[in-house]
C-alpha cells in the first residue's frame, strides 16, 4: 500500500522495468472504468501475492510489435473465493483479458475477467471494481 497517487506512475514504470508488482491502492485511484481493455496474449509471469495478484502477458499489436502488459487482479484470498487456484493460470497459456486501463495510459490494466483460450473457461478476477459492482447489486 505505497503512496497511492503520484507515486503510482513511478511505481508502474518500475513494475514494467523490473517485473515487480506495486502494492495496495483502490481501483478508482489507479484505473479508469471508462477505458475498457480487451487483450489477447500469452502469459509470461504470474505473481501470487498480497494485496494484489499480478500476471503479465505478451500482446502482439497490429504492426507486429509485442508489448508486455501487467494486469492486476484481486488478492490471493479473493481469487480463491472466485474459484482460482495457483494452478489455474500457467506461463505460456493464451488468455483473453477484459478489464480497465490504468489512468496513466501505460500498459497496465485491472483485469475484471480472464478467459482461458485452451478451455474457454471464463474466470472473474476478484478485482475491487467487480466487488464494488457486486455489492451495489445486492
Amino acid at each position: 500500500m505505497r503512496m497511492r497517487f503520484a507515486a503510482f506512475a513511478v511505481a508502474a514504470g518500475f513494475m514494467l522495468a523490473t517485473g515487480s508488482a506495486i502494492a495496495h491502492h483502490s481501483f478508482a485511484a489507479e484505473f479508469d472504468a471508462n477505458q475498457p481493455i480487451n487483450l489477447k496474449g500469452t502469459v509470461t509471469k504470474i505473481e501470487w501475492m498480497n494485496p494484489h495478484t499480478y500476471f503479465y502477458i505478451d500482446v502482439t499489436e497490429p504492426n507486429g510489435t509485442v508489448v508486455n502488459w501487467g494486469l492486476e487482479m484481486g488478492s490471493p484470498n479473493g481469487l480463491m473465493r472466485a474459484g482460482w487456484t495457483r494452478n489455474t493460470l500457467h506461463v505460456g497459456d493464451v488468455v483473453t483479458v477484459e478489464g480497465s486501463l490504468a489512468k496513466d495510459k501505460s500498459h497496465i490494466g485491472n483485469a475484471r475477467a480472464v478467459i482461458l483460450a485452451a478451455s474457454g473457461k471464463r474466470l472473474f478476477a476478484a478485482s475491487s471494481q467487480t466487488e464494488t459492482t457486486q455489492q451495489q447489486q445486492r
Binding site: H24, E47, P51, S75, R86
Partner: protein, 148 residues
C-alpha cells in the same frame, strides 16, 4: 449555526470536565494522510511482500522469510500496522466515533493475526491474513477516502 462537536469528542471532554483523570499529554503530529504514507503503507508492504509465489518461464520462486531476523522484521512491521490502528482512533484523526472506530479496530485485529502468524513462522497464515488486511483497508477507503 456552529457545527456540533462530534459525539465521541463530547464524551471525551465530558470525562475531563467531570473530574476524571486528565487526558494523556499526547500530541498527534501526523494527519491521516501522513500516517498512511509514513507508517501504514510501508508497514503493510513488508507484511504483504514477505510471502509470494512467482511463476516465470525459468521456474517458481517461493518468497518467504528465510531466517529469524527476517521473521522478526515481518513481526515488527505487523506490530507497527497494528498500533497504527490505535493512532487512527486518536482525535483529530478519527472522523467519527462509530464506523471509523470499527474499521480502525479491523486493522488492529487483522494485523494482530499477522503478528501471531509471523511469530509462528506461518507462511500460509501470512498469505491468508494479508488478504484480510487488504479488505480492512479497502472497506475504510471506500467510505472515507475512495479515490486513493
Amino acid at each position: 449555526m456552529r457545527p456540533l462537536l462530534p459525539g465521541f469528542l463530547v464524551v471525551s471532554l465530558a470525562g475531563t470536565a467531570c473530574g476524571g483523570p486528565p487526558p494523556p499529554p499526547y500530541k498527534p503530529v501526523a494527519d491521516v494522510k501522513q500516517l498512511m504514507q509514513g507508517i501504514v503503507d510501508p508497514s503493510a508492504d513488508v507484511v504483504w511482500e514477505s510471502v509470494a509465489t512467482i511463476f516465470t518461464k525459468d521456474g517458481v520462486e517461493e518468497r518467504r522469510p528465510r531466517n529469524d531476523q527476517q521473521w522478526a522484521n515481518v513481526r515488527n512491521h505487523a506490530m507497527m500496522l497494528m498500533e497504527s490502528g490505535n493512532l487512527l482512533m486518536i482525535p483529530p484523526r478519527a472522523k467519527d466515533g462509530d464506523q471509523w472506530m470499527k474499521m480502525a479496530q479491523a486493522l488492529i485485529d487483522t494485523s494482530e493475526i499477522a503478528l501471531r502468524a509471523a511469530e509462528a513462522k506461518n507462511v500460509d497464515g501470512l498469505y491468508e491474513v494479508g488478504g484480510r488486511i487488504d479488505e480492512a483497508c479497502e472497506n475504510c477507503h471506500k467510505k472515507y477516502w475512495p479515490n486513493y
